[in-house]
Symmetry: C2
Subunit: 237 residues, 2 copies
């Protein structure tokens, strides 16, 4: 093992009000994009920046368990799209009546239209069987890879690039389309590209699928579902 | 079901170079904080902002499965800390020789020192048994809650607030400390507060626990572990 080295302190670590506002603007304006992809290529320099953002996600025990498969090949994208179609037909049948009608009207992916696909995976054995921080919560490495997805998504947004997460797909179909071995866990398949526009609200909210919950309904103080109504925090939610 | 309403397009959706840089600065300067917490209280307005950022994470089928338990009570924090101690002793014993010595030297949590704890959970049955987007990947709701953690973490960083994720703890001990029912899945317990400083590098990197992997080692093109060395993307990694 390498000996410990002194860790330098961040000297430019403060954020201005403008920088703060930029991060919140990014968080609030991020959307799951399905239908507005443009064919414009994503420059490699930009793609590298968003991948690097993903690579700087937190990871349990600093194991960095992720890999990123960048998909530009039309035939590969078509196989992924076919796998979506199969799953989506099954999925639609699971909803009843009106909900099913709405479901079938929704556009839920942009696999072929998006110039780039990115599959994020998790190599659970990357740094050996015992991982610092994973000893009592086995799923922590998967969660690290999910943090990489969210970093990538936010970095893409600030590059004015849309991202859509395709989850209506059998992982084994994705595995076979991308040649991913059984030892590697698939986390996400993302459609990535410039877009005609971003919507103000999530598409499922606008479609009346589910409403946005008030933040105040999901915040508790000190214990599950406990809340002293005089707590001043509640006035800010 | 509500009828569909027109979805307005974002009109202020572009990001300037300065805004872009702010988001990358936030992503690269985010740290897992264990030992530099200050006792200064986190204002409720700031706490509400970072919770709202979390609440605007992507969620599968727009189910927003998360709850946030804000922990300020010293006795509750102490119970969480005790649960960490129990798990950490077990964890240390799982590492061998030099690695165990290094492990025992590391400070891995700031549960009691941090003025605020935030527990993020996932209510898997919040919107019923069938969830759009979860039909073929059952863990998507857990991943949504993880995205909320990452949003909160980044928003905190830009508020100059440190966050540390405590995962060396038995979920059932946390459940009992916070009164969380068995039907609710625990995702994360975060230590939150202002800090004396942020480190330039992750503490585990500096401690020689594991090195930062080169980005180029985890990026593939079109298929798992495939890479045409002439692909211009590789020059940017």
């Amino acid at each position: 093992m390498k000996t410990m080295e002194p860790n330098t302190i961040q000297t430019d670590s403060g954020f201005s009000a403008g920088e703060r506002d930029a991060v919140y603007k990014c968080i609030f304006n991020r959307r799951d994009v399905r239908g507005q992809f443009l064919p414009d290529p994503v420059p490699d320099a930009v793609l590298a920046r968003i991948l690097n953002a993903a690579h700087h996600a937190p990871s349990v025990g600093f194991m960095q368990p992720w890999d990123f498969i960048v998909v530009r090949d039309a035939a590969v994208k078509q196989r992924v799209r076919d796998a979506f179609e199969t799953a989506n037909l099954e999925a639609a049948g699971m909803f009843e009546d009106e909900k099913q009608k709405t479901y079938r009207r929704l556009k839920l992916e942009g696999i072929v239209e998006a110039p780039v696909g990115i599959c994020i995976t998790c190599d659970r054995s990357r740094t050996g069987p015992v991982v610092l921080g994973r000893t009592h919560q086995a799923e922590m490495d998967l969660y690290s890879a999910v943090c990489a997805v969210q970093n990538l998504w936010l970095a893409a947004r600030v590059e004015n690039i849309g991202v859509g997460w395709v989850s209506i797909i059998r992982p084994d179909d994705l595995r076979s389309a991308l040649g991913i071995p059984p030892s590697i866990q698939i986390i996400a398949y993302l459609c990535v590209g410039y877009v005609a526009h971003f919507y103000q609200k999530p598409e499922l909210e606008t479609a009346g699928w589910l409403p946005r919950m008030p933040l105040s309904e999901v915040v508790w103080i000190d214990r599950w579902q406990a809340r002293d109504t005089s707590d001043p925090l509640l006035g800010y939610l």
